[in-house]
Structures are given as C-alpha cells and as structure tokens.
C-alpha cells in the first residue's frame, strides 16, 4: 500500500467530528519570524519566542547490550524538552532546552564516559499525501535528516546526518564535526542547544522530533530519550488542510475510543510478541517493546502499524545478536543466526515484509480503543 493511499485512508476512516485545535495546542510549535538568526543560545531575541514543552521517553523499543545503560533505563527516565522556533529567511532556527543533573562533556582522557547530546530530526520529504517516517531514524521509503550536537569543553560538536532506519545514520558534510552552539547553565542545571534546519520555500507545517542523551546515564546511540513527531508551524504560511487532518488524527476526542477496552484487546493479542508494561512474556528482542510507545509514536502511526504493518518495516536489532544452537555449526564453528528474532521476512524480490500480521479486520471502534490504550503507555510503566 502506498504512503499516499495510507494517508488518504487515515483521513477517510477518521471517525466523528474533527477539530484541529487540540492538535495545534499540544503538538505544534509556532515559529516566530525574526529578521536575523539568533547568534546563539544566549541571544536576547529568544526571549521573544514562546516555547512548548514536549515529553521525552527513554528508548526502550529495542534493547542494547550495555549493562550500566540498561540499569539506568530501569529508573524513571521521562523528561521534557522545551522547544522554541524562529523563522529566519530560508531556515528554521530551533532552540532546545532541557534539565540535566550535571554537564557531561566529550573527554579525551577516559574511555567509558559519554557526552550530553541533543538532536533534531526532520523528514527529507513531507507534506500532503506523505506519511511520516518511522520515528526510529526514518525508514527506507521515508528517510530523515538529523542534526546532532555533543557537548564539549568549548561548546559542542555539530554533525549533520541522514538515515533511513535504525542503525543507518550516515554523516554528511565534513568528516570532522563543526563547532555547534550548546551551552550549560550551571545555576539552573539546564542545557540549551540551538539548531538551524534548512526550510523549503513552501513548507508551512514542518514535522520535527527531538532527542537528548544524558552521559551520566551512559546514554549514547539508541540509549537516549526521544519525543514523537511534532510540528513547527511557519508564520505567514497556511498548512494544507488535508495534511493537517491526516497528521492530526488521534488528537480530537472523537478519534480515539476507550483505553480500557483497548487494554483488554492489547493484552490478548500483542503480548505473545511485544512487551507491555508489566507484561513481558515474549523473549527480549522478538519484537519492538511497546512500554513507552505512547510517548514515541503518533496515533496515526500506531493505527497504520496495526492495519498495515508492512507499510513501515522496522529493521530491528543487529541480526547477529541471537544465534541458533539447534542448527549445525559451519566448518569454522559458527552457528547460524536465529532468524526468529528478525522483525521481517525478505521476499525473492528483496522486499521486506513485517512479521506482524495485519489487524485490518478490526472495526474502526476497536482500532480507536486500541490506539487510545497504546497512547496511555507514557514511559512511566515498569520495565519488563
């Protein structure tokens, strides 16, 4: 099914009356037009730009193998990032602000410390008829651009990357990182980082998501805290009504159903592969963990994943993490990988199909209940 068709389907199926107010109130940052780009995080121009706070949840969809980082994941890790945006000529300048216990910097004298970092992610293509990329660094049909800053003694290292799925990020531009703008406010124990994102001349509603890493929690790579897709509205431009409607599904009271009914459904059908808070029956890594999915995924994406799981096929963990001891070893003693832990099958044409079956047979009401429940998974639930 094409991305365009899915977007239309989501709009067509959206039940009940729909109003965009709730969506703009909670999901959209209004950029303020500025005559010139702020010189840095301390520029007084930022005082005129209102911010919006977004929840970040620890990435627990996919478990990595650092023992200390995983121990830190067991402690509550939900936090907030305050986002401000300025529209300056051909760019959106974005200021992120978040609390942290202490400043952890890039070090060249120790080998097991990690720097506090932040990133913004923007789809390569977005707009009417296009679905959002997978939040976990995009997917093959919908790649993303990313800007990453790592805190250093003098400021930060800024890198530009592109990615088309988990683990695929590739640096763009110079091999050595440029100097970024990231500053620690010791008194308030807050980081501020400014990013500049090139802006298309017509884009009116720009999808954007945010991630921060706390070095003290051993956070790096996929061990991070992230938001779901949010949007920046460019001042003086009118977003396409159909696009707004497609993106905003799930934010009006009529869209979603009863989370309690959804919980009963989810615990009946999901737990054989997925982890839900307090319900970890499946082996770790068999499928994405859903314990924080409500913070990370948009309602539209959750709905699409249930109805049409192969629309976005998540790559999953490194396939060598599990090998199959029931199989014969090769002449060099290696066991083959256990493909039971792969999240997809590959057809003769090379096309990936998600192993998750489609639940397109659910009624619109059941889907609404389902998504309503998944949206309550707010990152505060226990880890399995």
């Amino acid at each position: 099914m094409s991305a365009r068709l899915i977007a239309l389907l989501v709009v067509a199926l959206a039940p009940g009356a729909w109003a965009s107010d709730a969506f703009f109130a909670t999901e959209v940052v209004d950029a303020v037009a500025l005559p010139q780009a702020p010189s840095g995080v301390a520029d007084p121009a930022w005082a005129r730009v209102p911010g919006k706070a977004f929840t970040l949840a620890p990435q627990r969809t996919l478990r990595l193998n650092d023992k200390l980082a995983n121990e830190a994941l067991a402690a509550p890790g939900v936090s907030e990032v305050l986002v401000r945006a300025a529209h300056v000529g051909p760019a959106l300048v974005v200021l992120l602000e978040w609390s942290d216990g202490a400043a952890d910097l890039v070090r060249d004298d120790e080998v097991n410390t990690y720097a506090d970092s932040a990133a913004v992610q923007v789809p390569v293509s977005f707009g009417p008829g296009l679905r959002l990329p997978a939040i976990s660094m995009g997917d093959e049909a919908q790649p993303v651009r990313l800007w990453l800053q790592r805190a250093t003694k003098t400021g930060s290292q800024l890198s530009a990357l592109m990615a088309a799925g988990f683990g695929s990020s590739t640096r763009q531009g110079p091999a050595t990182p440029r100097e970024g703008t990231m500053a620690w406010e010791a008194a308030a124990r807050r980081w501020r980082a400014q990013f500049s994102v090139p802006l298309d001349a017509k884009a009116a509603l720009v999808p954007m998501s945010f991630a921060v890493w706390d070095g003290a929690r051993q956070e790096r790579a996929g061990n991070k805290r992230l938001s779901s897709w949010r949007f920046v509205r460019v001042p003086g431009r009118t977003p396409d009504a159909a696009y707004v409607k497609a993106m905003a599904w799930g934010f009006s009271p009529g869209d979603l159903g009863d989370p309690q009914k959804g919980k009963v459904l989810a615990e009946a059908v999901c737990v054989s592969c997925h982890h839900l808070p307090g319900r970890a029956i499946a082996p770790v890594g068999l499928a994405p963990s859903l314990v924080d999915i409500g913070v990370i995924a948009t309602p539209g994406y959750l709905r699409e994943s249930i109805v049409s799981p192969s629309e976005v096929v998540l790559y999953g963990p490194n396939p060598n993490q599990h090998y199959d001891k029931s199989q014969a070893r090769d002449p060099n003693g290696a066991y083959p990988n256990n493909d039971g832990f792969r999240w997809f099958t590959v057809g003769a044409d090379g096309k990936r199909t998600s192993k998750m079956p489609s639940f397109a047979g659910f009624s619109a009401e059941q889907l609404g209940d389902f998504v309503a429940y998944l949206k309550t998974l707010d990152g505060k639930g226990s880890t399995p």
Partner: protein
C-alpha cells in the same frame, strides 16, 4: 560466517612472559594517534586480574541459548590504568621516591604474582590478542553493524568509516579486546596484521615471538600445523569456551611442571602444582583430556618412541609454524624511518 578461518595456536608451556609480542604489536600499530593506552596484544599472569583489570568479570559474549549478554565498558583510570611519572626532580633533594599520581593499574599490573602459598605457589603466562571469533559478540552488538568478518580469512575488523564510537562492542566482547580511541572517538582492535597476512607474512606478534609459541594458519589447511594441533591431535583449546563466541585463538594448556611439596619439603608424587580446577575454569572440561594425552605423549617419547605431537610443539623450524601462502614476488617489508 566466513569461508575460511585463520587461527593462532599459542603453546603456553613455552611462553616466558618476555612481552616481545606486546612490543612488536605496539610499535607496529598502537604507539600513536590515541591508541597509546591500547594493547591489542598483551601478556598477563594467570591466575591474576589481567588487563583490563578483572576483564573476566565484565560480562559480554553469548548465553547458553545463543543470545547476546550484557556487558560493561572498562574505565581507563580504574581498569586499564594510566602511566605515571616519578618525582625525579625532588629526589635529588633527598625527597622520598614516589609516583606523582597514584598508580592504579597497567598492562602488566599483577605480573608474576600468581597464586598459591610458598613453596607451592604457581603461575603461568597467558598472551592474549583478539580471538577473531566465529560468532563475534562485538560484531553482534554494534547497532550500526560497523564490524565485519572477512570472508577470505575470518579476520574481524571495525569499519572506522561506520564506527560512531558508541562502544557497545566493548561491552559485548567478553575478552575485552576492543578498545576505545578517545582521540578519534572510534573503537579499534587487533587486526590480525591483515596487511602482513595479505603478503604471506604472519602477524608481528607471532613473527617476533622468541619462544616460538605461536602457530598461524588456516583451520581447514590439513597440512598446516594449526590444523594438526587443533583438529588432529586436539591439544589446543579456546580460552573461556563458555563465552559462546567460538574463539579462534587456541591455547596448548600448561602442563603442571614441578610437583607440590609436602610439609617436610619432599615432592608429593603424582601431585600437580597448577590446580586442574583452575585450568578447567579457563579452558573448559576438555582440558583434562588434553593434559592426559600430552602427559602420555611425553612418557611415550621418554621410551624413545617418535612423537609427531612433541615434534610439532618443539617447533624445529620457525617458518613451518606459519602457513599463509607465498609472499608476493619482490615484496619487501617497509622499513620505518
């Protein structure tokens, strides 16, 4: 995972702990560009904490079902150790001779300490490089799949263009044989001297070994000494097979050496100085069988009967220990200026 597999056999009965291999590796690869604290090859005393300190207790590898284990990334200050200087200027003024910073570790931190009480104390040396495992856990851990295993020889390498310095590989390696380069922000490891291998030359550590303890060759080369020791005589065992990575550095376990002494100072007949349980903890239960076989072979040789196994281990000709194909015609080793 690979078509062929290079392997190294190290005969621990002949290692004298001279660290020539360590220095050969260091001058070849790790004395510059942020690698100064790395020892792709090290020789540690066993029993002992080793390098980095207590690496055997830091997790990694695969569990009994073939699933990747969690692990820990060691600290430079606490586990690898940093070099220290002495107060050379002050001692000229009759100051007490001491280190300027507190020494906390190093590559040969507990060298020659060993275990056991006098006169029954014991130790042996354990040289360690990357095991170029058949199921490498470093490769399995990398979220970016930046680590690969070469098809032609099974050498495990880090693609530094893909490496982002996330160090999941270091947590995953149960042998702690991947190191973080804090200057480049990349992870680096023993490369089995692949540029030398490609010229038909053995790795620097093996070539320089004065004790001739290291054999290098392909596991499937039936005329090679590595194949004979591992697959025919079956006297070479991987270190910590329970880590589940199918390591490709094999060790001929140390025979026990002198007998234990009783309270009166007389040797106890039939006793062994190095406890079997300790050797089993390193090389797995197969170590008993290997040692019985080697002891029997020594007894047989004492009667004057020939022994192919002992001839192999004596290593009459250094060049026979390496079977890597012929060097490229006209190839000369580059000389460092």
């Amino acid at each position: 995972m690979s078509k062929r597999q290079l392997a190294m056999v190290m005969d621990l009965n002949k290692c004298i702990g001279c660290q020539t291999c360590t220095v050969a590796c260091k001058t070849q690869w790790t004395n510059r560009n942020g690698r100064e604290g790395m020892y792709w090859n090290n020789v540690e005393t066993k029993p002992g904490m080793g390098f980095p300190k207590k690496w055997e207790e830091q997790g990694g590898g695969f569990d009994a079902n073939g699933n990747l284990n969690e692990g820990v990334v060691p600290s430079r200050y606490n586990d690898y150790g940093v070099p220290w200087d002495y107060n050379a200027a002050e001692i000229m003024k009759a100051a007490e001779f001491k280190a300027q910073t507190e020494p906390r570790g190093g590559p040969n931190w507990d060298e020659d300490v060993g275990a056991g009480d006098f006169p029954n104390s014991y130790f042996f040396y354990l040289p360690r490089i990357c095991n170029h495992c058949s199921n490498p856990s470093c490769l399995a851990a990398c979220p970016r799949e930046a680590i690969f295993k070469r098809d032609q020889d099974g050498i495990v390498l880090v693609d530094l263009a893909r490496c982002e310095g996330n160090r999941m590989c270091i947590a995953a390696c149960p042998y702690k044989k991947i190191y973080f380069n804090p200057k480049l922000s990349k992870s680096e490891k023993c490369i089995f001297c692949f540029p030398r291998i490609e010229q038909g030359l053995p790795p620097a550590c093996a070539d320089q070994c004065v004790g001739r303890i290291r054999f290098v060759g392909y596991l499937d080369d039936v005329d090679g000494q590595v194949h004979k020791l591992v697959n025919v005589h079956k006297v070479a065992l991987p270190l910590h097979p329970e880590y589940g990575t199918q390591a490709n550095v094999y060790y001929v376990p140390p025979m026990s050496g002198p007998r234990r002494f009783d309270k009166t100072g007389k040797p106890i007949e039939g006793s062994e100085r190095i406890p079997r349980a300790y050797l089993e903890s390193l090389f797995g239960p197969a170590v008993h069988d290997v040692l019985e076989r080697m002891n029997a072979e020594v007894e047989k040789r004492k009667t004057g009967a020939p022994s192919e196994l002992l001839d192999l281990l004596i290593a009459y000709k250094h060049s026979d220990m390496f079977r890597l194909g012929k060097p490229r015609p006209g190839f000369k080793l580059p000389v460092m200026k």
